[in-house]
Subunit: 316 residues, 4 copies
């Protein structure tokens, strides 16, 4: 039997101690503590780790953190949506996103060429420069391959970037495939279709892409998932392991609740009914804004795995 | 200036009167009233109406309602995810989904071959029969076309169905295209990739699909959106009108809040900063479970448009 | 086994048919259907019905509906907070509340003497007139009684009002006590303390008030609760029946989720662990904005009980 | 203009560095960063600091943290509900609360005498012992005073406790009044009414209590509020400063959203329309489970104020 323990601040407290202290506080703090244990286990156990996130998280400063996790070897495969990857490319080319307000006057922002994502603003200029960059990249990629999957496409992009805080850059270096099942659902969609107009044999093969994720791991592989937010990224990842037996470890972190039956709010329990997560898997759902909960728990995971020499790095 | 008005029940009250009464109650009731006005306007105005929804809504009994809306001519184009379309096909072949509990024992459900979506259960048998159906359909579709978009694919499917409550059936009859930007993200994904293994020239062309939605309406068309839930369906639809000037009318209905910057929680205001919804568009966001809010408001819309002879039907 | 049923609109549809149709749709619609069954049962069964709501619901047009429910004999006892009762008095004296926006400029509103509750606005003038009204009422009440509970206090207020849409008016006529465990938590608090300055023997006896609610029903009474929103009103009501065996029927309707352990989000299940709701009670929690969900389900309840002659009225 | 900054983990990272890093990440992380700045300002500025919280937070391990904040001089006045104060007394007498599951079988828990608050369990025995403790305390308190306010009552209780992790103990030592506007809304309610049965002149004077909080600060005092969760505690505190000009600083931390017009979800902006928070006040609302967000931000506040010698301590 575990008991609630009073939390106390200690001068000079480490991030790890803070997260450890919270694990006995109650409510979502306890779930965060469980998430820590499960993430450590999946790594120690040599599981293939699936990381999924939504685009807005890449708009945020979690982008550099995701890149660092790839660099540290904490992630084996990524599933996400295209908007974030576009922004990763912009940031890698020096674009900056500014901090605004959730209650901004959106018509005024539009007139000033500012596009809002919650309390973050991206300028029209950033998108214009992205168009130039992508136009050149597309030509080079097409020279190599004309029928490809999104992981193949984004690997080529990553190889053309030079920014240690870039997800695509680190993923290309570390051979971490980035699946993007709805690759046209962003500014890239416009660039792809205009490119295809001129080059009709240019194809994104989403059917083979699904085959590739399904066969990424087999029955004998241990599999773990860290799913941040919901949507297609989350579902595509858990679905992909269905025929190889489902996830052995699962951490869901989301703001969505389960009462309306949405995928974003679907719990790790619900996934067990489908066999997308194993019956006896270590699994937890943590409710809350990932911009706070994920760095808090993951810093503790990294700290403890670093002490155990399971991962190296963190000296930057 | 509009004032709060006391709501009162009246014996034998019509659904329309109920919804009208709520429009002066306050909080989300008022937003629901605004949603009604906007939806009536977009139809009267001859706008092209985009309807987007998430898969779980098709798992629910909203499926038949969506089909009816297509039948009544309330919808010109649909964007959704694949899970719901699979279930529409199952239901059209006589499968039934049972009502369970949000707090079910998911491991026990798994052992009994029951897959849970909130408080709705789908059996493994339904999925097995879906596999047989799809296997035959794929052969026929391939004979006609080897490189297609998802609206083309689902139109063929719809033509093979015979169920007035089916979304795909009604959409095929009414020439309403159904876009599905992540077509492999469901059981269909497995069937597609196995089919492609044998027929490598079978291609789902998601790049051309994006072109098709972008060119579905032009600068001169009035455009309205009814977006239920969030995710890729919602974003794909609003994005698609960006270069033709954005939506003139927009109703978002969702359970998600905007505080974490997610697409699911993004408001119609946020979309204005991007130009996905026009600056001066009539637009409202209604927070709440769509399984309740949408039929409530849409029945009033239909009733009033029916009186105005803008739509016909509703006698079944 | 119950199955999902496709919902369809029918021309001229009754509110009752709409609500009935929703009961097989899935997600919160199904919970709403269960809420209907439970509320009908509690009334037919002769249970004492506890209604609790938060102040903001009285700010809204639900105020007149609550008054009507009392008039129809659907409610035996009310627990609420004081803000709403103040507003009921204002409205009974002709004050009007206007409909505004959730995204209003609050500093501008403040300068214009407008106080915001979500998207509803109350003027400073309404509060000023309330002060005059209350000042006279307090003198009269004090002449009758100097140490009283809040239900005694509000009964006297109700007897001085003349508005069929007033909660206090109908409650006084129908002998429905209105408990208000935090009676000073509103503008009334200022008036009460200034009155007590001049009349130190004026006492609100909250300890006896608790006794009165605890003894309102006994072990042998059937008890049902309809709890709208959370907070002290909800907890005070369910706590009060703890020693007489807990509620036999319970419907919670709230926007709050259970993940942070709050009372507002606490489910009917959680209440069973405490014995505040009986182990075998018919109970359901419906998530959603009460300004929509409550009138929708309650109109069906009233319609059906009216047909059964369990209640009379509804001809206004 | 502030920009999004990539977050990165650093080996051996301090809690303060983590929280600082998050302040440029985006979404609620940024709000958390603002909350930090505002809380530091209110303390440096010598503002009277109001802390409000809901009972469930005292059920959790935040209890010891609240006690520590009082000990450190970070809090001048508290408003809360009674359930948490009961549990503070239990814990001070050695009772332990165990960690369970949000999805527990509540009927089974009830049979085992376990009462659930989210994922925390309190035994019937703890409540039985509380009854004995309170019975003795009540006699002693009554000997001193027969008509009292809740802060007076709880001060006496605090003086009888000996536990540095107890809120009541620290508050009594530091002369921090604890207001509890609904003092009977818990197990204490039963003990109070039974005591009053024997001692009819025993009175909790809630009207004078309101006077006391209203006069706790004057027009000339700087005032700041840290409001955790919603409900009566939150409203009572902000209301109390209305006539002395409203709060100069405000941090709201809650899980509730504003879309249904509830007090729990009401933002600091909404409070400005009422004058409960000054027009030009530094104010922020942070959405998320307080069991995570509050310790994370407050540890940074303490660390930085400690370096500035504004507070002492933290060596335990």
């Amino acid at each position: 039997m575990e008991y609630v323990q009073d939390f106390r601040w200690k001068k000079g407290m480490k991030a790890e101690e803070l997260a450890l202290g919270l694990s006995k506080v109650g409510f979502q703090s306890v779930n965060l503590g469980r998430a820590c244990e499960i993430m450590k286990k999946m790594k120690r156990d040599g599981a293939k780790i699936y990381l999924t996130f939504t685009s807005n998280m890449v708009t945020s400063g979690l982008r550099g953190f995701f890149a660092q996790l790839i660099e540290l070897g904490m992630v084996d495969i990524i599933v996400t949506t295209v908007g974030g990857l576009e922004e990763d490319i912009m940031r890698a080319h020096g674009e900056k996103f500014s901090l605004g307000s959730f209650r901004a006057d959106d018509v005024a922002l539009h007139e000033r060429g500012m596009n809002r994502v919650g309390n973050i603003l991206i300028t029209d200029e950033s998108y214009a420069r992205f168009e130039d960059i992508m136009s050149q990249m597309l030509k080079k990629i097409y020279e190599k391959n004309r029928r490809m999957t999104s992981p193949e496409f984004f690997r080529e992009v990553g190889l053309m970037l030079k920014d240690k805080n870039s997800i695509l850059y680190q993923a290309a270096r570390k051979n971490v495939p980035i699946f993007c099942p709805a690759i046209t659902d962003g500014a890239l969609g416009f660039h792809l279709f205009m490119f295809q107009e001129k080059h009709p044999d240019f194809i994104i093969d989403s059917v083979r892409e699904f085959k590739d994720i399904v066969t990424f791991t087999g029955q004998d592989d241990r599999k773990g998932i860290i799913s941040l937010g919901g949507g297609v990224s989350k579902h595509y990842a858990i679905l992909s392991t269905l025929i190889s037996g489902g996830m052995d470890y699962a951490v869901y972190m989301t703001t969505a609740s389960s009462y309306s039956g949405s995928m974003s709010g679907a719990t790790t329990d619900e996934a067990k009914s489908w066999g997308k997560i194993k019956d006896d898997a270590d699994a937890v759902t943590v409710i809350g804004d990932v911009s706070i909960t994920f760095p808090l728990v993951m810093c503790r995971v990294l700290e403890e795995l670093s002490k155990e020499k399971v991962i190296k790095g963190g000296k930057n």
